[in-house]
Symmetry: C2
Subunit: 153 residues, 2 copies
DNA sequence: TTTTTCCCGACCGTGAAGGTCAAGAATTCA
DNA sequence: TGAATTCTTGACCTTCACGGTCGGGAAAAA
């Protein structure tokens, strides 16, 4: 059970972006990737890949040319962490069962729906993860109390 | 974010073992791995690796020789899924931050505790996953309603 | 003493994660 | 206009851990 670097980097970079944006002079100015790469110690080339996906997911806006960079497409409080992880192309995979009602690899033919006995468990785990990451926003992380909603739940 | 095969196989095999045990004639008889391997379509050699770990974790008991095999060390209701996953040696890794209070790779020196801003988020996610998997037992999965405690929470 | 089963370390191939490179396109400023 | 800056994109490469095999052993029962 592990989170890959891409999803983690994506969230780290978005947090960094959100943190830098308000400091700028202009209200709607953008932050170049080079700055974030430096701050988060992520290679610029790799970060470009990630932001390309985030842009296509509609989470950030790109501005080219001198003085350009990236901006959040929405307010930090309106962006859930799950959106960033999904937007980065990182899948939440808890099963390897085939989709579309096909029988799971380990299922016995006698079982109802040809689902393996553990299928519901993995599905529930996936939902639980998505529920949690959907309940935390960029603003929460920035404010430094992302654990609160989880502990309270 | 994905669960590796080892942890998943471990749980599948334990469920299978728990399901087969009551069917046996003797009350405390054991199930040979070959049977489980066949039922779950997992290679016997790989399954042996996994059960070796589960045994060392104290989750199953091994009996050698003809008529031997494995038995659950405890009642299904007393075995939480998280124990199986931990016992199989699968780590729940949501961060890559260095342990022991060392600064996270991406942390800015100005941040308190030299923790990256997303550290608390990943830690909370890890706790959430462990909480869920700790709330479901082998008996729940066998009974077929492992999703209930999650949905209710 | 043979069979069955667990025990365990060594080994290996593959796929995907993680990361680099290079060429290009849009935009701004001098 | 042209040069600098920054995003855009696809192709490419490298490493490594996962998933899996192999082979020899040891215990226990028949």
């Amino acid at each position: 059970m592990q989170l890959s670097a891409r999803g983690r980097y994506a969230v780290m970079a978005m947090v960094d972006l959100a943190a830098r944006a308000p400091v700028r002079s202009g209200a709607s100015s953008s932050v170049p990737l080079a700055e974030i790469a430096l701050g988060q110690r992520i290679s610029l080339a790799y970060l470009e890949q990630i932001f390309c996906r985030l842009r296509r997911a509609g989470l950030v806006l790109a501005v080219r040319g001198p003085g350009g960079g990236y901006r959040l497409a929405r307010a930090p409080a309106e962006i859930a962490i799950i959106e960033i992880i999904r937007g980065s192309g990182e899948p939440i995979r808890t099963t390897r069962c085939r989709p579309g009602g096909l029988p799971c690899p380990g299922s016995s033919p006698a079982l109802p729906g040809a689902r393996c006995r553990t299928h519901a468990l993995w599905a529930a785990l996936g939902h639980e993860i998505e529920r949690f990451l959907g309940s935390v926003t960029l603003a929460d992380v920035l404010a430094g109390h992302p654990a609160i909603p989880a502990a309270a739940a």
